[in-house]
Symmetry: C2
């Protein structure tokens, strides 16, 4: 799945930045992908891009309108459809990561079919995927793993890719979830593949490469999350990571969405390492990434210093300190 | 998914018992489900049931024709279609666990729709499944886990259900794969669900029950198999087993289909126990089930005696000794 760039970011009538997190993510990580933003009446979010209508965006070369917002329920709202159809009529493809599919909206399907446009529903994959084979691939791979879901794995991976590229190293972010796919323009939403193919999907996503190239694979879930750990284990096995980075949000008191405590960091690292070593006996931890957004700067620094002493690994908040010290470990 | 009984077993033109393993499995575990068998010219397998044509089977009450064979590729052969349509026309449903779907054969789909018959493609589920919630359910659950795929987990589970029912205990086999579904008439093929729903599918399959009721859940894969371990982990978490049974085939030198060694039994039990205790801290091993079909009787007994000493658990081959000693542990 490769989405054509550049993009026009559709902010619709989003009320806050959380609702527009896909758009803000693309703007933050890949401003060069974005020619502008399209906002409807009532929109209260600004990505800091030029406000363009569809004709103007097309004139500036926009190839895809990306739905950068999620409303309650994550559905395509009826009052968005006119703008989406207009984008198709003006020669753009559409991309979205919502629960329902662009291709399930009859007028969009019919218009796209008639004009030969593509509708990218990145949550869903139609690719014929292989079963994982476990064979060692050429090239290096890094995978963030987490104590929980939604604790900073995608941010960490994107920060590592960006810093490595800035240092002139060979690195490619490999998206495994819908936001990561829309941010990077390619990938497979592995929580949406058929269970038998989780590991095989990741093997396909991060194939053989140059010996000094790093695939920086987006992590998903947690081996300790009772809803999603199967996805995480298949991802680890398919990734066959050389380097793991533990991601953790220290203020959280329960696993996301369930009444379960978070695992201890040592226990979490031990189990992830055991899983990773099945398909790559050389796997090791290269660092710990802390999402300290809800802590004071002083508290965060003290906490991270303590972890460094305990685990003998670089501990950073990618947002506050960057990931340079983790990259030194690779 | 609940398939109407009794069945007419369709053996088609199967050349050997392996090709007819679904039919022989149903016949072995549930002879009371079977009114007869339907064999085409060239069939060399006999399940020991009356040979019936479709009209005769219908007259004896058959409600479903079950495709009990898999040819090379696991597809619905063109020369079977006439018999399958005839079954629909005579008032039977169809059930199959092949790769391609009954509903993808136009004449079968059209005939079933016209007559209001059901086509059960048990590899595929259309059910809307929930994400796992990890909440402790009432009732007891047993799950066989394996050092590898295809080492006796389904056989062990069916043997335990049967023996418990014969002892007047409350037990239900819960099928998680296509053969188990066809043998028992119900279940969810969990390797075919979307990855996010593995644990939730198993929670749905083995819901709250009487406090003294045992769900005997069919195991799948192995935590040490690089292709399928994600399915296994989600299954373990969703099952929240009180009792685990380790299944092992001692003569195997590599994991099925890949170039990986089998794990050691102690290592395998430790990792499965750690996984199970996430959703059920009371989980423990109740025994070891050895598939010794390829060993001599004397070798098998010596090997099992050695394991009993090492692990302090009952060790049986369900086919040779039955599973009574495992049930005593529950």
């Amino acid at each position: 799945m490769e989405i054509q760039k550049p993009y026009l970011l559709f902010l619709a009538d989003a009320h806050d930045r959380l609702a527009a997190k896909v758009a803000t993510g693309i703007r933050h990580w890949h401003p060069e992908y974005c020619v502008g933003q399209l906002r409807m009446e009532g929109c209260r979010v600004d990505c800091g891009l030029p406000d363009l209508d569809i004709a103007a965006a097309r004139a500036m070369g926009a190839k895809t309108l990306v739905i950068g917002v999620a409303n309650r329920g994550g559905v395509i709202a009826d009052h968005w459809v006119e703008a989406l159809r207009d984008a198709l009529e003006n020669g753009m493809d559409l991309a979205a990561g919502l629960h329902n599919r662009l291709s399930d909206v009859p007028v969009l399907k019919e218009t796209a079919d008639r004009l030969g446009r593509s509708l990218f529903d990145v949550r869903h994959t139609n690719a014929a995927l292989p079963v994982g084979n476990g064979r060692k691939r050429v090239g290096k791979r890094l995978l963030p793993v987490g104590t929980d879901c939604s604790c900073g794995k995608m941010y960490t991976a994107l920060a590592i890719e960006k810093a490595m590229l800035e240092q002139g190293k060979k690195a490619t972010f490999r998206a495994t979830g819908q936001t990561g796919i829309l941010v990077s323009g390619a990938g497979i939403s592995i929580d949406a593949v058929v269970a038998d193919f989780i590991a095989g999907a990741v093997e396909t996503l991060a194939p053989d490469n140059d010996p000094d190239h790093w695939d920086v694979i987006e992590g998903q879930g947690s081996l300790f999350h009772p809803s999603f750990a199967g996805v995480t284990l298949g991802l680890i096995h398919g990734a066959q990571p050389d380097a793991l980075v533990l991601c953790h949000e220290p203020t959280r008191t329960a696993m996301r969405g369930v009444d379960y405590p978070l695992p201890g960091l040592a226990e979490c690292m031990a189990l992830n390492l055991q899983a990773a070593r099945l398909t790559n006996p050389q796997a090791r931890f290269a660092g710990i990434s802390i999402n300290s957004a809800l802590m004071s700067g002083a508290d965060a620094l003290a906490y991270m210093a303590e972890l460094e002493t305990l685990y003998g690994l670089p501990v950073v908040d990618p947002f506050r300190q960057g990931v340079g010290r983790i990259i030194e470990q690779l």
